[in-house]
C-alpha cells in the first residue's frame, strides 16, 4: 500500500468514526424527541394509536432516514479522495493520484503530483462531520422544549393553584333532594374536556372518569359504566370507596404506585401529591365513621360528601383532568372540613369503634352506595335527555314558535286578500280607467289608437332600373380641344 493510499485510508477511518458518532447522536436525540412527544400525547389523553403509533412510525422513519443518510455519506477510499479534493480545494489532485497510485509503473508526473499533495495537505486539514451542528442543536432545543415547555407548567399550576370554576350549565328541573355533592361532581364531568370517550356522556360515573384517563384500572370501570345495573359492590371495588379507611382498602385509590405507571412521571407526581394528603383523608374517613356511629340522619349525605371528596381526590390525581381538579379539590376540602368539624365534638369516638359497629358501618355504606348508584342513574337519564334535546331559545331556529303554522293558500278562488293594502288601492278616482287597474278589461278602444285605412295597390308600367345618366356636356371653351382629340384618335390611347 502506497503512502497516499494509507493517508486516504486513515482519513476515511476518521471520517467514518465521526459520521457514526454524529449519526448516533442524531438518532438518540431524534428518538428522545419522539419519546417525549409520545409521552406528551399520552398525557394529553390521546388515543393509543396517536400517542404510541405516530411516534413509533416517526421513529422508524427517522431511523430509516438516518440509515440512508449515513449510507450516502459513507466513504470509500475514492470517495475520501473526492471529498478531500472538494473540501481542501485540491482540484481533483487526490482522485487523480489515487488512481495512478494503484499502477505498477506510474507515469513520470505522478511523483510530482504526490509531492504537490503532500505540500498542500500539510498546510490544510480535512474537515470531518461535527457531532454538534445546527441539526443536533435544533433537536436538543426541541427535546428541551417538549420536556419543559407549557404543559408541564400547566399541570403544576393546576396542582398548586386550582383554576376558576367554569360556568356551570343550568341544572335540570328535577334535581335530587340533596344536590350539593352531586353539584360538586357534575362540573367535574362537564368540565373535563380531555375525556372525550363515549362513556363519559352515557355514564358519568367516577369509574368512567377513571377509564377516560387511560390509567391502569380501567377494565372493571369500563364494564360498569356500560352497565348501570351493576351492583354497587362491584363499583366500589374498582372505584374509591369509604372502605379506604382500612389500610387494605386504599390500594387502588390511595396507593400511587398501584395506579400511576412508572413510565409516567407526571402521574407519579400527581400521585405523590395525592399521597401527601393521605393523613387528611384518613381523618375525613375516620370522621365519617364517627358520624356513622352517632347515627345521625345527615350521615348519609355527609358520607356521600366524604365519598365524593375521595372520588374527586382520586380523579384529581389523574393528570388528564386539569380543570376538574380544582373543583374536585374544593369539594373534597369542604367535605373533609365539615367532617372534621363534626367529628371534633365526639372526641374519642373513632378510637372506640368496635367490630359490630364496623359491620353496621359497612352495611350502611353499602346502602348509601346503592342510594348513590340510584341517584346517579337518575342523573344519567336526565343528562342524556337534556343532551338529546337542544334547549329552545327564543328567536333562534330552535324556537318552535318562531314561525306560525303554515296555512294552505287559496289560489284557485283568488278571494284571499292581499295582506298589504296601499292607499292608492282605496282612493277614489275621478275618471274610470278602462284599460288600467285591477279588474276585467272593459273592451273599449281608446280614440287615440291609430286607425287603419285600406289602400289600393297596383303594379307600375315603368321599369325599376334607372336610365343611364347623360354625359356631362362639354363646356364650349373646351369644345375645340375635344374635337381635335376626337380627330386624332381615341382618348384612352392618349391618356398617360
Amino acid at each position: 500500500m502506497s503512502e497516499l493510499e494509507a493517508f486516504l485510508d486513515h482519513v476515511a477511518a476518521r471520517y467514518r468514526r465521526a459520521l457514526l458518532i454524529k449519526t448516533g447522536l442524531l438518532a438518540g436525540l431524534s428518538l428522545g424527541v419522539l419519546g417525549v412527544l409520545a409521552w406528551r400525547l399520552q398525557v394529553a389523553g390521546g388515543a393509543t394509536v396517536w400517542s404510541v403509533g405516530v411516534p413509533a412510525a416517526l421513529a422508524v422513519g427517522v431511523i430509516a432516514g438516518l440509515a440512508w443518510w449515513m449510507r450516502r455519506r459513507w466513504m470509500s477510499r475514492e470517495g475520501t479522495a473526492a471529498y478531500l479534493d472538494r473540501t481542501l480545494d485540491l482540484q481533483q489532485r487526490l482522485i487523480t493520484a489515487a488512481e495512478y497510485s494503484r499502477m505498477t509503473s506510474p507515469p513520470a508526473l505522478y511523483s510530482v503530483l504526490a509531492q504537490e499533495i503532500t505540500q498542500r495537505c500539510s498546510t490544510r486539514h480535512p474537515r470531518f462531520p461535527k457531532p454538534l451542528d445546527h441539526t443536533t442543536g435544533i433537536l436538543l432545543v426541541a427535546l428541551l422544549l417538549f420536556l419543559f415547555w407549557p404543559h408541564q407548567g400547566a399541570i403544576r399550576r393546576s396542582l398548586i393553584q386550582p383554576p376558576e370554576e367554569p360556568p356551570t350549565a343550568p341544572t335540570p328541573a328535577e334535581t335530587p333532594p340533596d344536590p350539593q355533592p352531586e353539584d360538586a361532581s357534575q362540573p367535574q364531568d362537564r368540565a373535563s374536556p380531555q375525556a372525550p370517550s363515549s362513556g363519559s356522556k352515557q355514564a358519568p360515573s367516577p369509574s368512567t372518569s377513571t377509564q377516560d384517563q387511560g390509567q391502569g384500572a380501567t377494565s372493571s370501570g369500563a364494564g360498569q359504566s356500560g352497565k348501570p345495573e351493576a351492583s354497587p359492590s362491584q363499583s366500589s371495588s374498582s372505584s374509591s370507596t369509604p372502605q379506604g379507611s382500612s389500610p387494605d382498602g386504599q390500594s387502588s385509590a390511595e396507593n400511587p404506585e398501584a395506579t400511576a405507571s412508572p413510565s409516567n412521571p407526571q402521574d407519579a407526581a400527581s400521585a405523590k401529591a395525592a399521597s401527601g394528603k393521605n393523613p387528611q383523608r384518613r381523618e375525613t374517613s375516620q370522621a365519617s365513621a364517627a358520624n356513622q356511629e352517632a347515627g345521625a340522619d345527615g350521615q348519609s349525605s355527609k358520607a356521600r360528601r366524604a365519598k365524593g371528596s375521595q372520588k374527586d381526590q382520586r380523579s384529581g390525581s389523574s393528570p388528564g383532568s386539569t380543570q376538574g381538579a380544582g373543583s374536585e379539590r374544593n369539594a373534597s376540602m369542604a367535605a373533609s372540613q365539615q367532617a372534621a368539624a363534626q367529628a371534633q365534638p365526639s372526641g374519642q369516638g373513632t378510637s372506640g369503634t368496635s367490630a359490630g359497629n364496623q359491620e353496621a358501618m359497612k352495611g350502611e355504606i353499602q346502602r348509601l352506595l346503592k342510594e348513590v348508584s340510584g341517584e346517579l342513574q337518575q342523573l344519567q337519564t336526565q343528562l342524556a335527555a337534556a343532551q338529546r334535546q337542544p334547549d329552545p331559545k327564543a328567536g333562534t331556529s330552535t324556537d318552535p314558535e318562531l314561525y306560525e303554522s303554515p296555512a294552505a293558500e287559496d289560489r284557485a278562488g283568488g278571494t284571499q286578500k292581499v295582506p298589504i293594502i296601499l292607499p292608492t288601492d282605496t282612493a277614489a278616482t275621478k275618471t274610470p280607467r278602462p284599460s288600467a287597474g285591477v279588474g276585467r278589461p272593459s273592451g273599449e278602444v281608446s280614440p287615440a289608437t291609430p286607425q287603419m285605412t285600406s289602400e289600393e295597390a297596383s303594379l307600375t308600367d315603368r321599369p325599376a332600373e334607372e336610365t343611364p345618366s347623360a354625359r356631362q356636356p362639354i363646356p364650349p371653351e373646351y369644345r375645340s380641344v375635344f374635337d381635335r382629340l376626337q380627330r386624332e384618335g381615341p382618348l384612352s390611347e392618349q391618356t398617360p
Partner: protein, 337 residues
C-alpha cells in the same frame, strides 16, 4: 521516473507559455482569451479556425504566432479560383542533364505555420486539399506522398457576415480544426491602445521566444509533455458525458439536443477537449486535468462540431447557446459532487 527525466519540465512549459502570450500581447491588444486558446490548440497539436469580421487582427495574430515560435510561416489567400495545386504544389516538367523529367514544386502548404485566409472563399475542392494535410500531416500528389514538416499548424480565418461568393466549410473540414475561436471586437480602451500603437512611426514587433534553432525540438517535447499530463477516470468520464450529451439520437438525450441539433459532436471533439484541457492544466501550474479545465475548453472544442437543426436557426440560436444549455446541468452536478 522523476521530473528530471522530463525533457521539458512542466514549470518551464508554463513559463514559456506565459512568455509567448506576453510577446503576442505586444502586437495584439486585448484578445487575451483568443491568444490563450490559440496557443493551447498549437501545443495540443491541433489547428484553429478563427472567425471574426475583417480588421480584428486575425492575420497579424497568425503571423505573430509563427514568428514568436520561431517557425516558418506561409499564407494562402483563398479565392474561388484557387486550385488544389496552388496549395499543395504541382508536377513540373524540367530539363536536367538533357533529359526532361517531372519535378514536384512544393506548394505553400509545405511550411510549419500556414495561414489560410478567408478559407470559406475557396471552393470545396480546394478546401478538401487541406484535409489530408491537416489530419495526417502529409500530402499526396500524383501518387506520391510527402511528409509535412513538424510542427505543422494551420490557422484559417473566415468572415461570418459576408456569405456571398463563399463556400461554407464541410463538416469533415470543420471537424479537423481542434478549436474554433471567435474573435470579437476590442473594447474602447483596447481600441485606444491599438490606435496609439499602430499609428506611430515605431510599430511594435514580436521576437522569437523559442530560439529558431531549437524551436522544433522544444515544441515537440512540449507536445509530448502535454500528453503526459495525468487525467483521472472521473474527468475522462465527464468529457464523455459532455460529448454524448450533444447527440440528439441517443436514448437519454436532452430535449434541447433533440430540438436544436441534427448531429452531435464526434469522438474527435472529445479528444480535442481532453487535449486542450491538458494544456490548460499545464499553463495553470498543474500536471493533472481538473473539471474546470474541461469546462474552459468545452465551447471552442465543440461549437463547430455540432450541426444545428432548422428550428435552432429559425430561433436564431447559436451553437454556443445550445451547448451551454446542454452542458450546464452536467457541470453543476460535477461542481457540487
Amino acid at each position: 521516473m522523476t521530473q528530471q527525466h522530463l525533457t521539458v519540465p512542466p514549470e518551464e512549459f508554463r513559463k514559456t507559455f506565459a512568455a509567448l502570450s506576453e510577446e503576442l500581447h505586444r502586437v495584439i491588444v486585448g484578445q487575451a482569451e483568443v491568444i490563450e486558446r490559440l496557443l493551447i490548440a498549437f501545443f495540443a497539436g491541433g489547428h484553429v479556425l478563427l472567425e471574426g469580421v475583417p480588421g480584428l487582427g486575425k492575420t497579424l495574430l497568425a503571423k505573430s504566432v509563427a514568428h514568436t515560435l520561431g517557425l516558418s510561416f506561409k499564407r494562402i489567400q483563398c479565392t474561388p479560383d484557387l486550385m488544389p495545386a496552388d496549395i499543395l504544389g504541382t508536377q513540373l516538367v524540367v530539363e536536367r542533364e538533357g533529359r526532361k523529367q517531372f519535378e514536384f514544386a512544393k506548394g505553400p502548404i509545405f511550411t510549419q505555420v500556414l495561414l489560410a485566409d478567408e478559407i470559406n472563399r475557396a471552393t470545396p475542392k480546394t478546401q478538401s486539399a487541406l484535409l489530408e494535410a491537416m489530419e495526417e500531416h502529409q500530402v499526396t500528389v500524383s501518387g506520391t506522398t510527402f511528409r509535412l514538416e513538424e510542427p505543422f499548424f494551420v490557422m484559417a480565418t473566415q468572415n461570418p457576415i459576408e456569405m456571398e461568393g463563399t463556400f461554407p466549410l464541410p463538416e469533415a473540414q470543420l471537424d479537423r480544426f481542434l478549436f474554433k475561436i471567435l474573435v470579437d471586437y476590442p473594447s474602447a480602451e483596447e481600441l485606444s491602445q491599438i490606435l496609439r500603437q499602430t499609428t506611430v512611426v515605431d510599430i511594435a514587433a514580436v521576437h522569437p521566444v523559442v530560439p529558431t534553432e531549437r524551436a522544433h525540438a522544444w515544441i515537440l517535447n512540449a507536445r509530448r509533455l502535454v500528453r503526459e499530463v495525468l487525467v483521472a477516470s472521473a474527468v475522462e468520464e465527464y468529457v464523455v458525458r459532455l460529448v454524448t450529451s450533444t447527440r440528439p439520437s441517443d436514448n437519454g438525450a436532452e430535449n434541447a439536443a433533440k430540438r436544436f441539433l441534427r448531429y452531435g459532436a464526434s469522438p474527435r471533439g472529445a479528444q480535442a477537449m481532453l487535449m486542450g484541457a491538458k494544456v490548460r492544466a499545464l499553463i495553470h501550474g498543474r500536471i493533472h486535468v481538473s473539471f474546470e479545465d474541461v469546462d474552459r475548453v468545452l465551447l471552442p472544442a465543440l461549437n463547430h462540431r455540432v450541426v444545428l437543426s432548422f428550428e435552432a436557426e429559425a430561433d436564431r440560436r447559436t451553437a454556443t447557446d445550445i451547448l451551454t444549455e446542454l452542458t450546464e446541468p452536467l457541470r453543476t452536478t460535477v461542481t457540487n459532487t
